[in-house]
């Protein structure tokens, strides 16, 4: 795996992400500054980490979506390259047009940091091959604007095409408004683009990869990617 982690001013989970990629893949990712126009040669995974790019004083992710490096990411994605956006990264991918929909303020209008349960809807994607379809994983969220919203047609399409990859549910895998902390439509926590090579998700799998954090359910995502890329190479 030759991962590249994008660094925009105000991003703050890039170190968590880099550490996780190193831990799972055995190789440190390249840290790519927002002002760059190119990705490092041979990059096979682009990660847009969490944080508050440019302070998120405008719409979350809106400024980062227009940074020079995002042109490179768009063309990388257009060629089928794998892109993972987490939290602010998901917001940036939506603002970049790489994923549909928007992330609104949490329904309760508060920032929420807690462990949530996610149902992994499919296991036949590069991002989820480390899990079983229907498996429920526990990972933390930490965001104020993670309430996924799109128009009815888009959501129907996402659901119909199996592009909702992660969904907020109770510990038993059953959707429940009480376990949908941010009010996202259909409990959507993570979605794929049309071609299945771009994933955006609000929760932080990178924070649940070591026993020290009390849970390692996030590891499967990265282990699956390593596996996929090793087979592809």
């Amino acid at each position: 795996m030759k991962a590249a982690v994008l660094v925009f001013p105000g991003i703050n989970r890039e170190r968590d992400m880099a550490r996780t990629l190193q831990l799972v893949s055995g190789r440190a990712p390249a840290m790519v500054w927002h002002a760059e126009h190119d990705l490092p040669a041979g990059t096979d995974l682009v990660v847009v980490p969490g944080g508050f790019s440019y302070g998120d004083y405008l719409r979350c992710g809106a400024i980062a979506a227009r940074a020079p490096v995002m042109d490179a990411v768009r063309s990388f994605a257009a060629k089928g390259g794998l892109v993972l956006g987490v939290c602010n990264g998901f917001q940036i991918l939506c603002e970049s047009g790489l994923l549909p929909g928007v992330l609104m303020r949490n329904a309760q209008l508060k920032f929420i940091c807690r462990d949530v349960y996610l149902k992994v809807e499919r296991s036949d994607t590069p991002f989820t091959r480390g899990y079983n379809a229907g498996q429920v994983i526990r990972v933390p969220v930490a965001h104020g604007e993670g309430n996924y919203i799109a128009d009815g047609e888009t959501v129907a399409k996402l659901e119909g095409e199996g592009r909702v990859l992660f969904r907020y549910t109770g510990p038993d895998g059953i959707p429940d408004p009480n376990w949908n902390h941010n009010g996202a439509m259909n409990g959507i926590a993570g979605i794929l683009n049309e071609h299945g090579n771009v994933l955006g998700m609000m929760p932080h799998p990178e924070n649940h990869v070591e026993e020290v954090m009390g849970c390692t359910d996030g590891r499967g995502l990265f282990a699956g990617l390593v596996d996929h890329l090793a087979k592809a190479a």
């Binding site: 001013p9 105000g10 508050f52 020290v212």
Partner: protein
């Protein structure tokens, strides 16, 4: 000095600057002439209570500040301790009380921002934030608004900056109705031989301004924090600054980068009294003069006067002395991060603080006297008479024990604070071994196995009833909480919040608490390495409860061995360590169940504290115990309920001793106690070990089932307790009881 002297310095102007007539006399004597208005502003900024510690200094000097592991004690931006492996822990707690009452969100954000800057100014990357926040009674019309704003503000800054907020205290009491408290603590990591200090060195060295631009915000903020409130305090809103965590994150990365590259000689953040305080401190500490050229200061708006620039408290700014040969390199790094960089002055051999603007000298003052020789008061104080001990036999139990427990865990002080800490990102960094809700947070150091244990503690009602015992107890509880997770307590930061020191009874509370803190620090080898004093927390003549918040840090050699409060399995033996007399004076049972807020608080026997704690720490290190919880607010039964709720496992408890009334036994707040659980087979050896150490230990029950059962009482389902425990705060914030 020409134009500047045109503003006549009248007694009214002096008073508006918060300077007393005798202090103004002192200024006249010191400089031998009438000051300019800019100079008057500079004096007011340096000599106010907040910056000069003029009422508290003489007492603070009595605190123990040294230990072999202390690298830097009080007097710098933050304290520094050696935690082994070439690493240092840098930490401090600071208040932002007055601004947070006037504008809770921004007041809290800038409090967090200020303390983070104090830590990374010394070359440390912040790894955790903590806080201690106090609000008025829930029924007060302002309380919800303040809680909601302060919590959102603390989260808004820390979450965006990217540091986990891992522990804290939240309390409610009518005495904070007119003055809520926001005490923020930051903890950072640095290499022990790469700590940066404020003292400038070398003559003619460039002084560089870094960070955000200077605006007209926060002028006289420090002076506001040095006066009490009245009904017009809302009018002070313009003195509150606005926090910008994004700029601070950039400033952090840029500062650490230029420190890494060896560009920095001295560095000081611009906090209270901004440019004035930072420049004076750098010069005074380095025995040098400083000349500032205000025309070069990056400003947010045109036409700012020297007076405004010197007193602005715009946030996210730093002052540095750079190595001249590294200037270009440092500038490039700052430009990369999109931050302002300007050479605004230089060091001089004169020990004068000279401020120039538009080619004119606006101020020319002796630098040492501005800082080191600020007025110092030995204010008169009276220590209040001690309250009588409440005899447990004289307190009738108004309800069954089970009802009392249900009541207590749903009170504002004892209920779950999840509503608060879920608004703080407490997992960023991937090192939070123990999240909020336990005795102390545990944060892994880099890749481990070492970890830091950290907590904030104080019991203001004890301090009010007996400042000396209350001061002792605050330190002891902090030490105990670190011990309860398996940590070796190393040092504290103290954030002393009191009312108006010009009132002898308030000064008496301050003096009493400081004496108590000093005694506990000495006996527990737990020195004070940094701190902050916040006085004048008073509205219309009524002061807050004396609130000396103690923030402590300890080290755990292997984070995997840290203990947690949750019961681990059914069938384990529950042991109580320490002596239980059934002390009801100042207990929450007496206050919230019996409606009596009175009596002497529980005394702290520091020898017993140490013996009991050392035993518990040893048991944890040896893996001899499965769960550990200190017994504090609410007493034994509340602590047991917390252990049950954290796990979902119940317990069957045995009868208390015959000679103590049951409600005093189960709810008394005797100090130096811990509850531990052990596997049934290892109960005997653990009891043996305690007895060998001369520590009192008793079996009080067995874990198991899904309810907490007391002899002769109805069993309490853990799930039901948990619902009550979790319910109060969200219900209150959603408007219940309105």
């Amino acid at each position: 000095m020409t134009a500047a002297t045109q503003t006549k310095i009248t007694p009214e102007l002096v008073a508006e600057h918060g300077l007393k007539p005798d202090e103004y006399e002192r200024i006249l004597k010191l400089i031998g002439r009438e000051p300019t208005v800019t100079e008057l502003g500079i004096f007011s900024a340096m000599w106010n209570e907040h910056c000069s510690y003029k009422s508290s200094k003489v007492h603070l000097r009595t605190l123990p500040t040294k230990a072999p592991w202390v690298i830097q004690g009080p007097g710098e931006n933050a304290g520094v301790i050696d935690i082994g492996d070439g690493l240092a822990c840098v930490f401090k707690m600071e208040s932002h009380n007055h601004p947070s009452f006037i504008e809770p969100y921004q007041g809290a954000t800038t409090g967090v921002g200020g303390i983070l800057r104090d830590v990374f100014t010394m070359g440390a990357r912040p790894i955790a934030c903590l806080n201690a926040i106090s609000f008025g009674e829930p029924a007060h019309p302002k309380t919800r608004h303040l809680v909601s704003g302060v919590v959102a503000g603390i989260g808004g800054y820390g979450n965006s900056f990217g540091v986990p907020t891992v522990a804290g205290q939240t309390r409610f009491h009518a005495r904070y109705n007119g003055n809520n408290l926001v005490n923020a603590m930051a903890v950072g990591l640095a290499e022990a031989d790469k700590i940066f200090y404020a003292a400038a060195s070398g003559v003619d060295m460039p002084i560089v301004y870094l960070g955000s631009k200077t605006g007209r915000d926060g002028i006289h903020g420090a002076s506001m924090a040095s006066a009490e409130f009245d009904d017009d305090s809302e009018e002070k809103r313009p003195t509150v600054q606005v926090g910008d965590p994004f700029s601070e994150k950039l400033l952090l990365e840029a500062c650490l980068e230029i420190m890494e590259k060896g560009c920095v000689i001295a560095i000081q953040d611009m906090g209270a009294a901004g440019l004035t305080c930072s420049a004076v401190e750098m010069g005074a500490k380095g025995d040098l003069g400083v000349t500032l050229e205000l025309d070069k200061v990056p400003t947010r708006e045109a036409g700012m006067s020297a007076y405004e620039m010197m007193l602005s408290e715009s946030q996210e700014r730093m002052l540095m002395v750079l190595k001249p040969e590294k200037e270009k390199e440092a500038e490039d790094i700052f430009r990369k991060w999109g931050l302002d960089f300007a050479i605004v002055g230089h060091t001089t051999p004169t020990k004068r603080f000279v401020v120039k603007h538009h080619g004119e000298v606006m101020a020319d003052l002796p630098i040492k006297e501005l800082g080191d020789e600020a007025p110092e008061y030995k204010r008169p104080f009276v220590i209040a008479e001690k309250q009588k001990r409440v005899d447990a036999d004289s307190v009738a139990a108004p309800m069954p024990l089970a009802d009392a427990l249900e009541t207590l865990i749903a009170t504002p002080d004892l209920c779950s604070k999840r509503w608060v800490w879920e608004q703080y990102d407490h997992v960023i960094g991937g090192n939070t071994v123990q999240r909020p809700g336990g005795d102390a947070a545990v944060v892994r150091i880099n890749d481990g196995p070492k970890a830091l244990a950290m907590t904030t503690d104080v019991t203001p009602r004890y301090c009010e009833a007996d400042p000396f015992e209350g001061g002792k107890q605050a330190v002891a509880e902090c030490w105990r909480n670190i011990t309860a997770v398996g940590g070796r307590p190393l040092a504290i930061t103290d954030n002393l919040n009191f009312g108006n020191p010009e009132r002898p009874e308030v000064m008496g509370q301050f003096v009493g608490c400081v004496r108590g803190i000093g005694e506990a620090c000495k006996d527990l080898d737990f020195p004070v390495v940094s701190g902050n004093v916040s006085l004048y927390n008073e509205t219309n003549g009524r002061g807050i409860l004396p609130t000396p918040s103690i923030g402590g840090v300890g080290v755990i050699d292997d984070f995997q061995k840290s203990a947690t409060i949750a019961f681990k399995a059914a069938g384990e033996v529950i042991l109580l360590i320490g002596e239980t007399q059934g002390w009801l004076g100042q207990s929450l049972y007496l206050r919230d169940v019996c409606g009596r807020e009175e009596g002497a608080p529980p005394p702290v026997d520091l020898i017993e504290e140490r013996e009991n704690g050392d035993l518990v720490r040893g048991l944890i290190a040896d893996g001899a115990v499965t769960a550990v919880h200190d017994v504090s607010d609410g007493g034994l039964l509340v602590a047991l309920a917390e252990m049950a709720m954290a796990s979902g496992i119940g317990a069957t408890l045995t009868e208390g001793p015959d000679d103590t009334p049951p409600h005093a036994y189960w709810f008394g707040e005797d100090q130096a106690r811990y509850i531990v659980t052990v596997a049934a087979s290892s109960a005997a050896p653990v009891i043996e070990r305690a007895r060998d150490a001369g520590v009192l230990v008793e079996r009080i029950g067995v874990t198991g089932g899904d309810a907490l059962s007391l002899p002769g009482e109805r069993p309490l389902a853990v799930a039901d307790l948990n619902r009550r425990f979790e319910g109060w705060l969200p219900g209150y914030m959603a408007g219940a009881g309105q």
